[in-house]
C-alpha cells in the first residue's frame, strides 16, 4: 500500500513542474550551456586526469552534497591496500534502492587506460548535478540505480600517473611476480633515464640500422625503403639491464592482466597471456565479483577501456558464440547501432570477431556467467583528431604527429635528445609522452565523456521497466472469482536474457496475488484459445521464467471469497518490485 502511494506521488511529481526552487538561478538563464550544469555544486575540471585522492574527493563531495542521490562505499582493497570506491546513485527517497534495476559501471581495469575513470566520474557527477534540471534524469534515477566504480585497479593507476611509464605500460596490477623464471621478483623495471616521468624510445646511430628519420616530421622514425640504407637502430623502451642478464626491462612489477582473471571460459597463461593461477586471484576482481553476486538487480553493465573507439560486446572467444542467441543479440544491436550515431568515429563490434580473442575477461563473466547485458567501450580513437578516419594504417599516417604540431603545439612528444647509456653507449631518447596516443588530450576528454555517458545511459534506460498494465475480474459463480493480470515490460531488455533462461542463472520472476484466497494459479499462454499452464505448488505466487523486452505475460488466479483488498505484486531480480491494487 505504502509503495503504491509512493509510486502515485512520484508519478504526479513527474511532469517537470516540481521543486523549481532547487534549480540554480544560472540554470534558468542564458549562462547555462545546454546539456551542462552551469553552476555545479561539486566543482570538477574535466580536462585532466584524477589520481586516487582526487577520485575520492569527487566521490565523497558528491555523496556529501547530494545525500539523497549519491552514497559512496569501499567494496574492497587492492593488492597495495587502496580502497576500491563505488558510488550508488539513485533517487534514494523513492522505492528500495537495491531492488531497482541496477546498472554497473567500472573503468580503468587496465591501469594505463586512464579515461575510463573520468567517464565514470563524469557520469556520476552529471547524474547528480542534473537531477533537478533534466526530467529524463530524474525519472531515470527514480526507476533505476547506478553502481559506479571509477577505478578497479587503483594501485597501478596511481603508479602510472606518479611514476615513469609509457603509453602501454602498467596495464597490469601491482601483484609481484617473477616474470622471467629466474627466481627473482620484479628485478628489472623500466628506467626513466632522464627523469621526466615518461618512458620513451631509445635509438642509436648505426651503419647497419634499418630506420631513418621521417624527413617531413623529425619526431617520427620510419623504416628505410627495402633498397635504401638506414641511419638508426631502435633499442626499445627507455631502460637498463638492471640485473645483468643481457635483457632490458624484462621483469617489471605485475605484467599480468586483471582482465583475464574472471570466471568465464578462463584459460591458463599459455593459451591466454596474462592469466594467473585461476580466475579471481586478485583482490580487485574478487571485490567486483562479490559486489555483483550480492546485487542480482544488476541488469546492465559497462566496463570502460581504451583504445580504438568501439562499443564491444561478447563473446571474447569464438566457441562461446553459441551462447549468443538472436533475441539477446537484438538488444545489443539496438544499443550498439544507435551508439554509432551518438559517438562519431566509434564502431559497434564483437570482441572475438573484430578485436581479438579474450578468455577469462570481465565482460564475458558478467554477460555469460551472470546474464547481464554488458558493453565495453574502447575510448578514444584517432578519428577524434581531425573528425575523420584515415585511409592509412596507424604506422603509415602522420595524424598524431600533425595533431601534436597543429593543436598541441608540440606538447605530445618528448623531443629526441642525446643520452649516455651505461650499456648502449651514445644513444638518443624521445617519443610520445605516456598520456599521448591512448589517453584523450584534455580538450577532447569532456566531450567524449559526455557522449560515452549518453551511450551508457541509453543502455541503462533500456533495462526492464515492469508495469501491471491491466487486471480483470470475472465472477465464476459459487463464490469463485477469476482474476487475470497482464504484466508488461516497457523496455527492450528482458528480465532474463535468453541465455539466462536457458541456464537458469537468475531465479524466476514472481507475480503474486496478495490478500485473496487463491485456489489455483496459472500462466495464460494464449487467452483467445484458453491455453493455460497451471502452477500446482504455491499458486498465489506464480513463477515466470522471463518477462520479455517490450513484451508481456498474463497470469490468472481462481480465488474464493472477497477480493476487495487484493493486489498484484511483481518481484523480479532484474526488473524490480512493482505492485498494483486490483481494480
Amino acid at each position: 500500500m505504502k509503495k503504491i502511494l509512493i509510486l502515485l506521488i512520484s508519478l504526479t511529481a513527474f511532469h517537470g513542474k516540481a521543486q523549481k526552487s532547487d534549480i540554480a538561478a544560472e540554470d534558468l538563464n542564458g549562462i547555462r550551456a545546454i546539456g551542462s550544469p552551469a553552476n555545479p555544486k561539486v566543482k570538477v575540471y574535466w580536462n585532466k586526469y584524477s589520481d586516487h585522492a582526487e577520485i575520492y574527493r569527487i566521490c565523497s563531495d558528491l555523496a556529501k552534497t547530494y545525500p539523497d542521490l549519491v552514497k559512496v562505499q569501499s567494496i574492497g582493497k587492492s593488492v597495495e591496500g587502496r580502497d576500491i570506491w563505488l558510488m550508488s546513485i539513485t533517487d534514494f527517497k523513492t522505492g528500495t534502492a537495491d531492488r531497482k534495476p541496477g546498472f554497473y559501471i567500472d573503468g580503468n581495469i587496465h591501469a594505463n587506460e586512464l579515461q575510463g575513470t573520468e567517464v565514470a566520474l563524469y557520469t556520476a557527477w552529471y547524474l547528480a548535478e542534473s537531477f533537478q534540471t533534466v526530467d529524463f534524469i530524474r525519472e531515470l534515477l527514480r526507476d533505476k540505480i547506478f553502481y559506479i566504480a571509477p577505478t578497479i585497479n587503483p594501485d597501478s593507476r596511481e603508479y602510472f600517473i606518479k611514476h615513469p611509464n609509457n603509453p602501454n605500460s602498467s596495464r597490469t596490477g601491482r601483484l609481484p611476480l617473477d616474470d622471467d623464471g629466474d627466481g627473482l621478483v620484479d628485478e628489472d623495471l623500466l628506467d626513466d633515464l632522464d627523469g621526466d616521468g615518461n618512458i620513451v624510445m631509445m635509438r642509436r646511430k648505426s651503419a647497419t640500422g634499418r630506420y631513418k628519420v621521417d624527413c617531413d616530421n623529425p619526431q617520427r622514425m620510419v623504416m628505410a625503403k627495402p633498397d635504401e640504407l638506414g641511419e638508426y637502430e631502435m633499442l626499445g623502451y627507455e631502460g637498463l639491464d638492471n640485473d645483468g642478464d643481457g635483457r632490458v626491462n624484462e621483469d617489471a612489477v605485475g605484467t599480468y592482466d586483471p582482465n583475464r582473471d574472471w570466471g568465464w571460459n578462463w584459460q591458463p597463461d599459455y593459451i591466454q597471456r596474462g592469466a594467473l593461477y585461476y580466475p579471481g586471484m586478485l583482490p580487485e576482481t574478487k571485490a567486483v565479483k562479490k559486489f555483483i553476486l550480492e546485487h542480482p538487480n544488476i541488469a546492465g553493465a559497462q566496463s570502460y577501456h581504451n583504445y580504438g573507439g568501439m562499443f564491444l560486446r561478447g563473446p571474447g572467444a569464438a566457441d562461446d558464440e553459441k551462447y549468443y542467441t538472436r533475441a539477446d543479440v537484438q538488444v545489443y544491436d539496438y544499443i550498439g547501432k544507435l551508439g554509432e550515431k551518438m559517438v562519431p568515429g566509434y564502431n559497434y563490434f564483437v570482441i572475438h570477431k573484430d578485436l581479438y580473442t579474450v578468455f577469462g575477461g570481465e565482460i564475458d563473466w558478467m554477460a555469460l556467467g551472470r546474464g547481464i547485458f554488458t558493453f565495453s567501450n574502447e575510448l578514444m580513437t584517432s578519428y577524434k583528431l581531425f573528425n575523420r578516419k584515415s585511409g592509412e594504417g596507424r604506422f603509415e599516417n602522420t595524424e598524431f604527429e600533425d595533431f601534436d604540431k597543429l593543436l598541441l603545439f608540440g606538447d605530445g612528444y618528448v623531443k629526441w635528445k642525446p643520452y649516455k647509456h651505461p650499456q648502449f653507449g651514445d644513444i638518443e631518447i624521445g617519443g610520445p609522452k605516456k598520456n599521448y596516443i591512448r589517453n584523450h588530450p584534455g580538450f577532447l576528454l569532456m566531450e567524449d565523456s559526455h557522449r560515452n555517458m549518453a551511450f551508457t545511459i541509453l543502455h541503462a534506460h533500456q533495462m526492464p521497466k515492469l508495469e501491471v498494465v491491466e487486471t480483470r475480474k470475472k465472477d465464476l459463480g459459487g463464490g469463485l472469482t477469476e482474476i487475470t493480470a497482464i504484466v508488461m515490460n516497457r523496455r527492450i531488455m528482458p528480465t532474463h536474457s535468453a541465455h539466462d533462461v536457458r541456464y537458469k542463472i537468475e531465479r524466476p520472476d514472481y507475480i503474486s496475488l496478495k490478500n485473496a484466497g487463491v485456489v489455483a494459479g496459472m500462466i495464460v499462454e494464449n487467452e483467445d484459445f484458453g491455453i493455460t499452464v497451471e502452477q500446482k505448488m504455491n499458486p498465489e505466487k506464480i513463477a515466470v521464467e522471463n518477462i520479455p523486452g517490450m513484451g508481456f505475460v498474463k497470469v490468472r488466479w481462481i480465488v474464493k471469497g472477497k477480493t476487495d483488498n487484493a493486489a498484484v505484486e511483481i518481484d523480479s531480480a532484474k526488473g524490480g518490485l512493482v505492485s498494483r491494487k486490483l481494480q
Binding site: G181, D245, G263, W264, P268, D269, P279, G280, K536, M537
Partner: protein, 544 residues
C-alpha cells in the same frame, strides 16, 4: 523433525547393522594427523586453508631438509566427499611412512619431499560419519542446486529411519527399471533390445518437498571440489559452483600447487583412474589451441608409470574416466605437472576369472559395478545392502513403494580394514616412484686456460633420474621453472662469451646439455644447474 532424524541416525550407528564404519570424522582425522610430527622429525603438519564450512585443510610434509628445496611429489585425496576411502588411505600412508625406521625414511626422502593433503573437501567428507549418511560431494557453500530460486528446499528424508539414504523403488507402469538377472536385489535399466519392459521407478530416498516433480534435488551440500577446478569446467552444472575455482578449497589447493614449484607429480586418490591404464597419445587433441590431450613425451612417460603401478601388484582397477572440472586434469593441463588419479581400492577380481589375462583396467563382470560389489561383499561377509522393504510414501499414496538398495558409500569405500592391503601396495609404488624422480647433476666440468687470464669453462647438465625433469606441458606454463644453468662471477671477473643465465625446456631421463663460457679473471666462480622439480646443484670452480 531434523533432531528426530538425527537421533535415529545416531542409534543406527550403534547397531551392528553397519559394518562399514571405521571412517574418521574431521576431528578424528585432525588428531591422527597432529600426532605425526611427534613420531618423526621429518614430518610436519600445516593447514593450507579452511573449507567453506571453516574446517582446516591439512597438508603433511615429509622431507629431509628444507622441503621447498627438494623435488616433490604431492598426494591428495578427498576432493569429492563421496570418497572417504581415498582420505583414509592417504592418512594411513602417512602413518605407515612415519612409522618406518628413521634411517629408511630419511633414505627414501633424500633430496625429496612428499606432500600429503588427505582431505581436500572436509565439509563433504564429514557426512560419512554423520548421523544421517548420504553420499555427499558438496562443501558447506549454500547453492541453489536446481536453480529455482530456493536453496536447500528439497533434501533427502530417511523414510525407514535407518540412518542411511538409500533408494526407493516404486512399482509403476511408467517405470524403466527391472531387477538384474544376476542379482535380483540390483535394479538395471530395462533393455528393449532384450525384450525387457520396465517395472520400477527408481529414485533416491525422500519426498518431493517442493512438489516440482523431482526428488531430493536440492538438499544441503554445495560445491563438489572435484568439479570446481579450472580445466574443462562444467559451467552451470549441479555442484560445479558459481565459476571456476570459486571455492576456498579449490583455491587453497591451487595456491599450494603453484607456489610449491618443486612439485613434479600430483597423485590423486579419487573417483577417476588414469593410472592403471595410461591415457593414449592423440595428436589432434594434443595440438589444439585449448590442449585436450597429453603431450607426446608425457604420454610415453605416463605409460611407463602405469607399468610401474602394475608391478607394485596393483591390478584390475576399474575403468573410471576423467570428469569435467576435476583436480587431476587441471594439475596437468593448467598447472603443468604430471598428474595421476586412482580410486586406490576397488572390488578384487573374482577368483575364477583372476587367471585370465585382460587389460589393466577392466569393465564390470556382472550386470554392473553394484552387482560385482555385492557379490564380493557377500563373500567376505560385509553387510552392504538394505533389503527392499515396503514403506508408505506421501507422493505415491496407492503404490507399492520399497526402500532399500546398496548402502551409501559402499561401492568405493569398503570397511576400513579392507584398505590395509591397498595401502601397503601403494606404499611400495610410491617408494618406486620417489626413487625414479629426475636427478639433475652438473658433470664433466672443465676449466681450460687460454692464456692471459682467459678461461673457458665447460659443464654438462644431465638428468640421471628415470623420469623427465618435469612434464613436457610444463614448458608452456609460465609458472613452471625451466631447467637452467647459471654462472655467478665476482666483480673482478668479466664474461667474454656465453650467457650468464641459460634456460631450456624439460630434460628427458638420461638427456644432457653442455654449456661453456669464456671468462676473463682469476679466483672462484659458482655454477648452478637444474630445476626445482629435478633438484638444483651448485658447484664451485677455480679459474686458472
Amino acid at each position: 523433525m531434523r533432531i528426530k532424524l538425527l537421533l535415529l541416525g545416531m542409534l543406527a550407528i550403534l547397531t551392528p547393522a553397519l559394518a562399514q564404519t571405521g571412517y574418521s570424522s574431521h576431528s578424528q582425522l585432525s588428531a591422527r594427523l597432529k600426532s605425526l610430527p611427534a613420531k618423526s622429525r621429518l614430518a610436519a603438519l600445516a593447514s593450507i586453508g579452511k573449507s567453506s564450512g571453516g574446517k582446516d585443510i591439512w597438508a603433511v610434509t615429509l622431507s629431509a631438509g628444507d622441503h621447498s628445496k627438494n623435488k616433490a611429489v604431492l598426494i591428495v585425496a578427498g576432493a569429492d566427499g563421496r570418497h572417504p576411502a581415498g582420505t583414509e588411505m592417504a592418512v594411513k600412508l602417512a602413518e605407515a611412512l612415519v612409522a618406518l625406521p628413521a634411517d629408511s625414511l630419511a633414505g627414501l626422502l633424500k633430496n625429496k619431499t612428499l606432500y600429503i593433503i588427505p582431505g581436500l573437501n572436509p565439509d563433504a567428507l564429514e557426512q560419512v560419519t554423520a548421523g544421517l549418511k548420504y553420499e555427499r560431494s558438496g562443501n558447506a557453500t549454500t547453492r541453489d542446486d536446481d536453480r529455482d530460486g530456493r536453496t536447500d528446499e528439497d533434501p533427502f528424508e530417511d523414510l525407514n529411519a535407518d540412518g542411511l539414504i538409500t533408494q526407493l523403488r516404486i512399482e509403476d507402469p511408467t517405470g524403466t527399471y527391472v531387477s538384474a538377472k544376476d542379482d535380483a536385489r540390483v535394479l538395471v535399466k530395462a533393455d528393449a533390445a532384450k525384450g525387457e519392459t520396465g517395472k520400477y521407478l527408481l529414485i533416491t530416498e525422500g519426498t518431493d518437498n517442493d512438489k516440482d516433480g523431482r526428488f531430493n534435488e536440492d538438499g544441503p551440500g554445495g560445491v563438489n571440489i572435484d568439479k570446481n577446478f579450472t580445466y574443462n569446467y562444467p559451467m552451470f552444472e549441479r555442484e560445479a559452483g558459481e565459476y571456476q575455482a570459486s571455492e576456498p578449497e579449490t583455491r587453497a589447493f591451487l595456491d599450494f600447487l603453484y607456489k610449491n614449484n618443486n612439485i613434479h607429480t600430483v597423485f590423486h586418490f579419487g573417483l577417476s583412474n588414469n593410472l592403471s591404464e595410461a591415457t593414449k597419445f592423440d595428436r589432434a587433441n594434443a595440438s589444439k589451441r585449448i590442449i585436450s590431450g597429453l603431450q607426446e613425451k608425457d604420454a610415453a612417460v605416463t605409460e611407463m608409470v602405469s607399468k610401474m603401478y602394475g608391478k607394485a601388484g596393483i591390478t584390475n582397477a576399474p575403468v573410471l574416466p576423467q570428469t569435467a572440472g576435476n583436480l587431476t586434469q587441471t594439475a596437468y593441463y593448467h598447472a603443468g605437472r604430471f598428474s595421476y588419479s586412482t580410486p586406490g581400492w576397488w572390488v578384487p577380481k573374482a577368483k575364477e576369472t583372476e587367471k585370465k589375462a585382460g587389460p589393466p583396467a577392466r569393465k564390470p563382470e556382472g550386470s554392473g559395478p553394484e552387482a560385482d560389489y555385492l557379490k564380493w561383499a557377500d563373500e567376505v561377509g560385509v553387510k552392504a545392502f538394505v533389503p527392499w522393504t515396503r514403506v508408505s510414501h506421501p507422493d505415491f499414496p496407492d503404490k507399492n513403494v520399497e526402500v532399500g538398495g546398496l548402502m551409501p558409500y559402499a561401492l568405493h569405500n569398503p570397511p576400513v580394514p579392507f584398505l590395509d592391503s591397498a595401502v601397503i601396495r601403494h606404499q611400495a609404488f610410491f617408494t618406486d616412484y620417489l626413487n625414479a624422480l629426475p636427478r639433475t647433476e652438473i658433470v664433466n666440468t672443465r676449466v681450460e686456460s687460454l692464456g692471459n687470464g682467459v678461461n673457458r669453462v665447460t659443464v654438462t647438465v644431465v638428468n640421471k633420474g628415470l623420469l623427465p625433469t618435469y612434464a613436457e606441458i610444463g614448458d608452456r606454463v609460465r609458472y613452471i621453472y625451466k631447467v637452467s644453468c647459471k654462472i655467478r662471477l665476482s666483480e673482478a671477473q668479466t664474461l667474454l662469451s656465453g650467457k650468464p643465465n641459460n634456460y631450456r625446456g624439460a630434460m628427458a631421463a638420461g638427456e644432457s646439455e653442455e654449456y661453456s663460457w669464456l671468462i676473463n679473471g682469476k679466483g672462484k666462480i659458482t655454477v648452478e644447474g637444474g630445476s626445482p622439480t629435478s633438484g638444483i646443484s651448485h658447484l664451485e670452480l677455480t679459474l686458472k
